[in-house]
Symmetry: D2
Subunit: 371 residues, 4 copies
């Protein structure tokens, strides 16, 4: 074990981050130390990288410097003295919601929502580094057959799976509209296809993303930013006039909310995942919810660890192939290129994966047939 | 059987209704004819009586005259040739949602919501009469131990029970906030108390109603129109800091929506029953739904006939006593007095029951100890 | 419309059935008349054909003659005067559970189980004929893209789908053991694969059937009648030591029950579909159910019409291809060949479809590439 | 803090136990030390006290001496260095299922069932002592308004509540048959009554217990050991001919299993809690489960901590009063009298509570009006 490591660190409350050498993290006795094999860039990381208002309020300049990143896969190299479950050499990913066991929600089994939760890479140092430390309680042991570039994106994949399955996981043979074409919406298409949704509509904006959606199994591509097709009518026409059984709102815009409740059939389920740009958007409460007998499921994080379990099974089976969503891979040192990709609009990237080690980077390129 | 009957008929598109003699209704072979024992006034009847914009749009002047009323209990006196289930002398109440069996929702067992539904007393003649006709498909056979003045209010009671129980009926041992103090909110208090809610808060406005809520089992009375207590803080303080497991929105105001999502605990269930005065109210989507992992259940009508079955059992057991909500009883001829009570503000009435027959009226007064 | 039609009729309480000319059926005003495009042989038909003890008790010699058959697809040619939903030219299949609307279960939405139910082809004339009559209430409108030889087997497919999905339809990403290799078990494999089961084990007996299971997506084939592999240990080894999330018992033998509860993980779900040869088999109640915290779902028929809806969606999507289970097709006149196939052991047939019309037979052969 | 304490210790593999002075327990850093205020005798303790075959196999002579007892309430006096949730002076009860966080079931939120679980007082020293140590992970903080003699019996009350509510907690307005009249069945009556069961039948044996059942809210008392009433017919007659919505099997006899499945309505729920005397009883699989479309829920322990949460709410509300089930209270030193009561047949005791401190004993007697 070396004494220091490379890490991508947010040092100042302004755009950017620095590659630094830092000491290997120390940690409490119920945490573990992990050697990072792959880590990936989330929208949250981009917020912090840009240091927007949210970052300033949520993290605060006084808490810098802090290592970025929370999507990760790696090998456990040390375990604290009071760990009970995780062992050295376990190949893990981390759930980023570090729950407080005293919260009522935690006591009731809803570990992913709680009044006193901490987020990896937001409330403490993250995983854009050669090593990171994390509580044993949020470690998930990966199936060895899942390569690191896939294992690292299980965290956002989990968002997608939870949004698709909702609280009841009752999706088989149903119809679904997915609104949004960001990486998590694209994952959702793949999950929906594998889990027996019989008809999948996606409403997105960018050809680049829509093509990935098509590869992952979307049946009908509708553009939110084009008026050639009446989206509401189109979806009703293709669902026997009733609308879709399930709608996933993964865009967060007023238009998404308006259209989402319109294309939902009576008695259908609406997964609310997108963070609304307007914190108090206008909602068609009477017709969209009350008279429609709609079921709305607020989706935050992913179920711990029910969602992880299902995803491990699906990925290990080979039935779920989300690799088309990975559009870029870089060495950790080249994190700036990754962030640049993530900040460019119109988007021509979905998910960027970073590798601290050249060997892992080369192996991943080989697996994906990339030179 | 006489040739004609008394009926309270909406004749003109303006305030009021007329007591008329009309022929006994004729009906199709899968309908039944019912002798009314008791009928009661719903808020919908008041809208029609007043002939407000909703009535004008929903019913339309061209469809008058039409008999009012849909809350009812009576004895079946004739059944059509193709009826299979209901028999002469059955003591029934009517579900008012006359479903279309071809609607997808009907095929899926969600009889109470459908794209081509008719409402008794809105889309056809109603029950403020000595006799009324109704499809067999929406008849519910009452337990004979339930008196007519209670049996007639099972329809709005069903709204309350469905709102309390939501889609999953998972309420035992939980905490609940009921927002609103109209008759259905008051019923909800009674149902909640009998069904094992361990702590029941009501947020209302009128002492008259709040006293009924107290009788029916509310533990904490909070006033929406007074600022002596911080309602949000009060509820959190009395729920271990987390908020209530379940919130019933039965008021339809912006304040109700705002406070409702604030007092709901993370991962809790929010029953959306109130019709919002503002058709597109602003909702705290991010904090109230998404990050909170809330479950919202839109409540329209009541489950057919799951809700009726549970209510029959509860009423027949004597455990559920909703009689305090009945504040006025009149002979059918005195319907104007009933509507006057319903239109007076501040309200000093909850539910008005009308009796076409003097014998039934006298028997009901005797049962209730009224002179 | 002709006056008479071909029909396969059970005439005597002994092995066999006769091809007869019979009058076109008459029917009540809420029934419809259907021209049969395809019909298929169920195990129940074989019981009746053989006239075993069950048939003698269930149907009785005094009720003969009776037309056989209940799996069917056809075009509606007439509708009774009081039909509301089905129209002439609708392409339908029939749910065989003719529910009594007065049963409590029917009132509660559980149309498929009731105290006073009738079965098509068992309690009344069936569908092995050019025409058959059926209550509108059990007609299901097929998607026109589904060919008749598939549409007719939706009834047993519905058994399979209901067994796979259970009461909650929570299957995505889980592991499943299917015990049995009859046609419905084979359908179950196909449904499970399409609905996101991540690992599917089948325990069967016959190579012929197991090969079909493999085609439909089974991951692990285990033989109930060979001892080369310890089945219990094998399944545990391939499920992380815990056993499978879901077990489908579709064989009805003591061995199936014993092994089924052993390979179920704690807290898992066990679908009980197989009819036990021993009416009161010994069950490992303490370890298999109580201490295991198992959920057992008794499966009878299929949900009306939730199961039909999902299957229609899945079949129309092309995702679910159950055609490998159809191993034989005959003209209706050649019904004896079909029954002979069904009665031969070891089985080298799964599902036999019969066609009253030569045109339909030829079209089906062409679709399936059969000479 | 003293150095030693009184404890009731199983020392030899034969009938009985000894009152000893032992050192105050030491414990790992994620455990807590609790001063016992009340503890109560469970059937499991009686098995160990008698040292029957089960005890010999489950615990084994080589693991003696061991302190008995696992139902308990007390005050935390010390917390280990790595505890996060429980604080000194917390008033707690202990869940007895010490889960292994690495079990798949634990990862999926089913903490109460797991492949590597330990039981307090069975796999380690228990709570019949002045002090006991327990992992923080299974501590439940009591509401201070619940007296110790009630708080200690929350563990078996939790069994009852879980059996009543099943996996879905859908009980409001339904009918229920409870088979058995032991203490947990009696608790179940009380819970059922408070949670809105509209009609409660109990099938028991002993007048002493049946009288308690009546006090707790049973509507119909049926004797399993008398033939004056046809129990099956009686229950059907009182449930509209269909049978009960929910059956709780809490007796474990063949008769209970036979009758339980007969009185369950089609589509009903059967909670399997009783441990069957015959490990592989004969079950009417076809008619009782498959054709009936029954849902069977195996009940082991109680949900952690959903069941505890609901019970805390119900007890603190005063709505649930289970005190009639406490029939005897003793000082800890008089444990033999308690065990003698528990071993006497026919039973004239339900639950015995023991108090290590005279002050607590006197306070409890005063609360219960006992001299």
């Amino acid at each position: 074990m070396p004494d220091t490591m490379k890490a991508v660190v947010k040092t100042k409350p302004k755009l950017g981050a620095e590659l630094q050498r830092k000491p290997i993290p120390t940690y409490p006795p119920d945490w573990v130390l992990v050697k990072v094999r792959a880590t990936s860039i989330c929208g949250t990381d981009v917020h912090i990288y840009k240091w927007d208002d949210w970052s300033d309020k949520r993290i605060g300049a006084k808490n810098l410097p802090q290592t970025l990143g929370h999507e990760v896969a790696g090998d456990v190299v040390e375990v604290g003295a009071h760990c009970k479950r995780i062992k050295v050499d376990d190949y893990i990913s981390a759930e980023t919601h570090i729950y407080n066991p005293g919260d009522l929600n935690a006591m009731l089994g809803q570990l992913h929502i709680g009044d006193h939760m901490q987020i990896l890479g937001v409330d403490c140092d993250g995983a854009f580094a050669e090593y990171f430390a994390v509580p044993e309680s949020v470690c998930w042991v990966n199936d060895k057959s899942i390569p690191p570039e896939i294992a690292t994106i299980q965290e956002p994949l989990g968002n997608a799976t939870y949004t698709v399955l909702g609280e009841d996981s009752d999706v088989a043979g149903k119809t679904m509209v997915i609104i949004g074409d960001g990486p998590i919406a694209l994952f959702a298409v793949g999950v929906a296809r594998v889990c027996g949704l019989a008809k999948i509509f996606i409403i997105g904006k960018y050809d680049f993303n829509m093509n990935i959606a098509k590869k992952l199994g979307a049946d009908h591509l509708l553009y939110a930013n084009k008026d050639d097709v009446n989206r509401i009518q189109y979806i009703r026409d293709h669902t026997g006039g009733s609308g879709a059984d399930i709608v996933l709102e993964m865009a967060g815009s007023q238009q998404a909310l308006d259209e989402g409740f319109q294309v939902l059939r009576k008695g259908g389920r609406f997964s609310a995942f997108g963070v609304s740009a307007d914190p108090k958007p206008a909602i068609d409460y009477n017709n969209g919810i009350v008279f429609k007998g709609a079921q709305i499921h607020g989706i935050s994080g992913r179920r711990m660890f029910d969602t992880w379990y299902r995803n491990r099974n699906l990925l290990a089976s080979g039935r779920l192939d989300i690799s088309p969503v990975i559009t870029h891979m870089f060495k950790l040192e080249d994190y700036k290129a990754g962030f640049d990709e993530m900040m460019t609009r119109p988007r021509h990237s979905a998910k960027c994966v970073l590798f601290p080690s050249s060997e892992e980077f080369e192996a991943a390129k080989k697996r994906r047939g990339v030179k």
